[in-house]
């Protein structure tokens, strides 16, 4: 009987089914898309984390490592197969260096063999190219011993060098971030690059630093990497538990578990947290809108059965039976809509994920999607229950009354909604936060939706009243068409509901479109400044002068590319070539008081006094000076900047001799023989008794500089000097003293560095390229945003910064900015100049990455779903108006029979529908724009809100106009079609029927 009934009312049932499916799908899309977005966030976070943040390094000296790792990873399939390794250390007789001996599974694939072969047999080694060993050398290590044949004394085991290697990359994830290899190509400190062997070496020797058994004294380790391809957003809990287990293992056992995964998890949590609240906001509003639609539509299905329900009651069916009878059809339709809606949601989410998220992201159905679908359905169930209750409890005879009693629409629900809207609005305006990522302003979550609903409720109230006021006018003017239309609008039960549904849906859609366009604009604005230029190429570290020289070679006109070195600060520092920056950098003069980038950049460069470059193996300084103070000796030192190192190196030139001066020389660091070092300072020390009554001092003057290269002394030009704290001294004089000791420096830079300043930097010392925080900024321009800065900071001349710094700090990032979007040629040219390009980041990439963050994903979800809901609301309204007009078919037939012209009836139907739909749509437009004006600046757009640039929040009017225009056009067309369909059904013969 239920199925027969559904078939009898197949058109309405189908419409209810469709209208139920879409909110369920919309509601389910949120969690589906959110789950995929979470997966994206997790995978991206793992992929972009430092290698130590992508897994764990489990180290133990107790053996049994495979079993321990198996226990650690039991129950999950999120990790790649472990990489096992073992290592020990040993010195060498007569050598203070410590030699790591190690094996790591698959090591040979991650080492560049430069001579010989990889070790394959016990006691074979492969040594670093820089170790000085040669293929065939036999190495004896103090701690790797063996017993003499037939004896009990241990002697160093002979280990054979069978190959030499170079690391392919010190940053190879295979090594889990360990600094096994000296990056400068020289052995550093007292530790050398490792000697690689095979596991059997361990078991054929004794490590006498621990135990007497073979195999002991080695440390076993296993590297467990997470496999991003297996991770989904729902695995964060598992990862957190694994990390907690790893920490517990490290705390409670002899094992050491090393990992930065906690930092990665923190980043993931921040990102997913920023996704969660806005997504909840979106889903809640969509579920609410779905409820509204279902409330309006499912009720129609129950009401369509009212005669049957009345018959059931007339025949004495009990209350429960009547309820079940009334609910059966809508519940069956809703039950069918749930899987269909979820399937549709799954499909839509798949499309969205495919279009918006990286490839390979699975679209799983999380429990939240089922809950959201069920929650959306619940609106229909409640609507059905309410309509069934009303139908089942109202007097039976009402069903057969010719003029049914009118039931006034209550104000209670409207008042509650308007009050909640007002409260949310006040909180929004008072606190300035609509939904911060912590989700603390939860009551303000639904302000856009509530505001749309509030305005729609008021419009739904106002339209009948206004129509009623205009009603008398149409009695006298305009003919019967407007008269009938306004009368119907004024008293029509469909009017208010349609205006509410349309107003709410289009309010949300307008807000969503406004928010989306404004957010896209903000993303572009932020990306343009943060990227610095259209494209930023990240390159391997290179000497600043070499970088500048390479670009001069590649781009002599200085119009294509600019060198950039960035330091994180705070304050942030971006050092670049001002001339090139003016050509390629992104800039908005209005954010810098109208100053153009060219003008601002022109002030960054200081006087280019020559620098003192020293290349050779020995350095000599000629001095004139008097005798040192009595009882004191004076020692002279020069400070050099060594290429490739961030720290200055001071070399002693020895004690001052005699009382007239002379030449003082000392060997230069080996690095200065390969590349020019820069003389940065000369100073001395007085060594003697501490005499507090007098201040001993010794005036000194530098009279000449020379450097020896290939056995030949070359005299260097004497630079312009300056002395700290004594600006008048510039001829090379300075004073060595126990108090107020002076330092003589080549005057290659000023006391302040000219800078374009963003934010309250003031007189704070800037980090400089070496993070030495040596000099403050001299502001040449103040701007609210500058290229490359994503926080408060400065933009300076790279040459000036290089003159001040002793090197470039490892935290620095090296980039080349360019206006070109196709960087193939530039990358090739850079490679030819010996510069390795690591990656290219286009401005659009940044925009896409912002859109892929939690808030961006949520806004996209809101946009898609709100537009779908708006289309649905429009369709539902057309249907409701059509149904209402059909019910008046008898009345219209009577009017036609009494002489009313068809044209008048057509204009009546058309005007009624257009009026209702236009008012609903325009109310939505007003509500959406109002909500956008109030809430847009408070809607989260970024997982981490940018400090700079200021966000314009500009709503693009075209998309909003397009949506509303399309809605109005569709309304007009629908009204015209519906009117014609209705008019065809109006025949005088209809009057033979009962009204």
């Amino acid at each position: 009987m239920i199925l027969r009934g559904l078939w009898e009312r197949r058109a309405l049932s189908l419409i209810v089914l469709l209208i139920a499916i879409v909110p369920i799908a919309s509601a389910a899309v949120g969690p589906l898309y959110s789950a995929a977005a979470r997966t994206t966030i997790v995978r991206d976070a793992i992929a972009s984390a430092p290698v130590e943040g992508r897994g764990w390094r489990y180290t133990t000296t107790r053996g049994d490592l495979p079993a321990r790792l198996a226990a650690f990873t039991a129950g999950t399939d999120l990790t790649a197969p472990p990489i096992f390794g073992m290592e020990t250390n040993s010195g060498r007789p007569g050598d203070k260096l410590s030699y790591p001996i190690m094996w790591q599974g698959g090591q040979c694939e991650h080492l560049k063999r430069v001579a010989g072969r990889c070790p394959t047999a016990t006691k074979e080694l492969m040594a670093s190219r820089t170790s000085g060993f040669k293929v065939g050398d036999e190495i004896l290590l103090s701690s790797i011993v063996t017993t003499q044949p037939g004896g009990i004394t241990f002697v160093p085991a002979p280990l054979q060098v069978v190959g030499l290697y170079e690391p392919i990359s010190a940053a190879d994830p295979f090594w889990f971030g360990r600094t096994l290899f000296d990056t400068g190509g020289e052995p550093g400190g007292e530790r050398t690059d490792p000697l690689f062997t095979v596991p059997q070496t361990r078991y054929d020797t004794y490590a006498i630093n621990a135990g007497n058994a073979k195999g002991e004294g080695w440390t076993d380790y296993g590297i467990v990497y997470l496999d991003p391809r297996r991770l989904t957003g729902s695995d964060v809990g598992t990862l957190t538990r694994m990390q907690a287990t790893a920490e517990a293992v490290g705390r409670d056992s002899d094992a050491i578990v090393f990992s930065y995964l906690a930092d990665t998890l923190k980043a993931i949590t921040t990102q997913t947290g920023s996704l969660g609240v806005p997504t909840l906001l979106v889903i809640a509003q969509l579920v609410g809108l779905g409820w509204l639609l279902l409330f309006q539509t499912v009720g129609d299905l129950v009401r369509a059965r009212a005669p049957e329900i009345a018959l059931a009651r007339l025949r004495g069916h009990g209350r429960i039976r009547v309820w079940l009878f009334a609910l059966a059809e809508p519940l069956l339709v809703l039950a069918a809509a749930v899987p269909l809606g979820l399937a549709l949601g799954r499909g839509a989410a798949g499309l969205m994920v495919g279009a918006l998220l990286p490839a390979g992201i699975p679209v799983d159905i999380p429990p939240e999607a089922l809950w959201a679908g069920a929650a959306a359905t619940l609106g229909g169930v409640l609507a059905a229950a309410l309509a069934a209750y009303r139908t089942a409890t109202r007097p039976i005879i009402e069903e057969w009354r010719r003029t049914p009693r009118r039931s006034a629409r209550g104000w209670v629900l409207d008042a509650v909604v308007l009050a909640v809207t007002a409260i949310g609005l006040v909180e929004l305006l008072a606190t300035g936060v609509i939904t911060d990522v912590s989700g603390q302003s939860s009551s303000a979550l639904a302000v856009p939706g509530l505001m749309a609903l509030g305005v729609a409720l008021l419009a739904g109230r106002a339209l009948p009243v206004l129509s009623g006021r205009l009603f008398p006018v149409t009695r006298r003017h305009g003919g019967i068409g407007p008269f009938l239309a306004l009368r119907q609008v004024a008293r029509g039960p469909v009017t208010a509901g349609s205006v509410i549904v349309l107003g709410t849906a289009f309010g949300l859609a307008t807000f969503a479109v406004s928010a989306w366009t404004a957010t896209q604009g903000d993303y572009r604005a932020v990306a343009a400044f943060h990227n610095g230029a259209a494209t930023a190429l990240t390159i391997q570290p290179v000497e600043p002068r070499a970088l500048a020289a390479a670009l001069d070679e590649i781009d002599p006109a200085a119009t294509l590319a600019a060198p950039v070195i960035k330091l994180p600060g705070p304050p942030q520092l971006v050092a670049t070539d001002p001339v090139r920056l003016a050509m390629v950098g992104h800039w908005q003069p209005e954010l810098a008081g109208g100053t153009s980038l060219a003008k601002a950049a022109a002030g960054l460069s200081g006087p280019r006094t020559p620098r003192v470059w020293v290349r050779g193996d020995r350095f000599r300084l000629s001095l004139s000076h008097g005798p040192p103070p009595k009882s004191y000796t004076a020692r002279l030192l020069v400070t050099l900047r060594i290429p490739g190192g961030p720290q200055p190196v001071a070399i002693p030139l020895g004690q001052l001799r005699g009382d007239e001066g002379g030449d003082y020389a000392w060997n230069l660091p080996p690095a200065c023989a390969r590349a020019a070092c820069e003389l940065r300072a000369v100073h001395g020390e007085l060594i003697g008794p501490q005499n507090l009554e007098t201040t001993p001092f010794l005036p000194v003057k530098v009279t000449g500089l020379a450097v020896r290269d290939a056995g030949v002394w070359n005299t260097l030009d004497t630079p312009t000097w300056r002395v700290d704290d004594d600006p008048d001294e510039n001829d090379g004089r300075f004073t060595i003293s126990t108090i107020g000791n002076q330092t003589l420096r080549p005057a290659t830079y000023g006391a302040e560095i000219p800078a374009i300043v963003v934010g309250p930097v003031g007189r704070r010392l800037l980090p400089g390229l070496d993070q030495a925080f040596a000099v403050p900024a001299k502001q040449v321009a103040a701007a609210a945003a500058a290229p490359g800065l994503d926080a408060h900071g400065v933009l300076v001349d790279l040459e000036e910064a290089d003159r001040i710094a002793y090197g470039v700090h490892p935290k620095a990032t090296y980039e080349v900015w360019t206006t070109a979007t196709d960087t193939t040629a530039l990358e090739r040219a850079l490679r030819e100049q010996g510069i390795t390009v690591v990656s290219a980041r286009h401005m659009d990439d940044l925009v896409a990455s912002y859109a892929g963050e939690g808030p961006g994903l949520a806004l996209m979800l809101l946009l898609v779903s709100a537009l779908a809901a708006a289309v649905l609301a429009l369709g539902r309204t057309v249907l409701a108006l059509h149904t209402a007009a059909r019910r008046r078919g008898y009345e219209l037939a009577a009017l036609e029979a009494s002489g009313a012209r068809v044209a008048a009836l057509r204009s009546s139907l058309l005007l009624e529908q257009v009026l209702t739909m236009a008012v609903g749509t325009l109310a939505g437009l007003a509500a959406g724009l109002l909500a956008a004006r109030v809430a847009l600046s408070r809607v989260p757009q970024f997982a981490q809100p940018p400090v700079t640039p200021p966000l314009p929040h500009e709503v693009a009017p075209e998309p909003v106009a397009l949506v509303i225009g399309a809605a109005l056009l569709a309304s007009l067309l629908a009204a015209a079609v519906v009117s014609e369909l209705l008019l065809r059904g109006i025949k005088v013969e209809r009057l033979r029927d009962q009204p």
Binding site: G5, L314, R315, H317, G318, Q994
Partner: protein
Amino acid sequence: MSAVRCDGIVQIYTAQDVEVVALRDVDLVIEPGETVALLGPSGAGKSTLLWLLAGLLRPSAGRLWLDGVEVGRLDQRRLDRLRAAHIGMVLQNPARNVIGYLTAAQNVAFAQRAVRTDRRRVRDLLARVGLDGADGRPAGRMSGGEQQRLAVAVALANAPRLLLADEPTSQLDTASGGRVIDLIKGAAERDGTTAVVVTHDLAVGEALSRTVTIRDGRVGAEGRRGEDFVVVGREGAVQVPPEYHHLLPPGSMARIEPIEDGVTLRRADP
């Protein structure tokens, strides 16, 4: 025990903030097995009285007994049960009595659901109303006469003691109408069902054993065995039948003259 007993029934309803007295001090007793035609002009209160008898309305004042059970004392559940088991009702429009997409048999069975589904009775009823060959056809595709006969079968589905019918012949031709009335009379004769039929059709009234004429919410007249009587109301009021209004127009004055077995009314010219 009377099948129906109305004692001073008053029914008032509110329409657009105006109270309308639909029935006033209606006293009516109908014995079991009687077939009663409720006659009267439109708006007189016939349908209202019928709805009261069906338990679809509760009287504003007065008391109503059905088979000795005072309806006003029944809660909704017992009233539903009473209606299911003992009352059958035929609504005014034939299409309103049936569910259009169900077959004749399903419609009858639907009416039985509240009590006990009796398929044999369904077949018997359909045969009795002449629809035994149409039980596979949806009711919505039946003619008006067929639908009305089906409506009677539906109303008789649970062998009610009281059959109520509202204008059962109004949309039927004479032959079909006559057949429906025969069905109602047949039910009374066969099962002892008491029937109350609201009608404008005097022929229907003549076909039934008794007529009750409702005018202005009161029982104005009764007819038995072909003879019409005015009914003296609770306050001694007597409604002059419309056919005598030319002799004693409403608003005119009259003299009452006692005679041996009553009074006579004569128009007086003051």
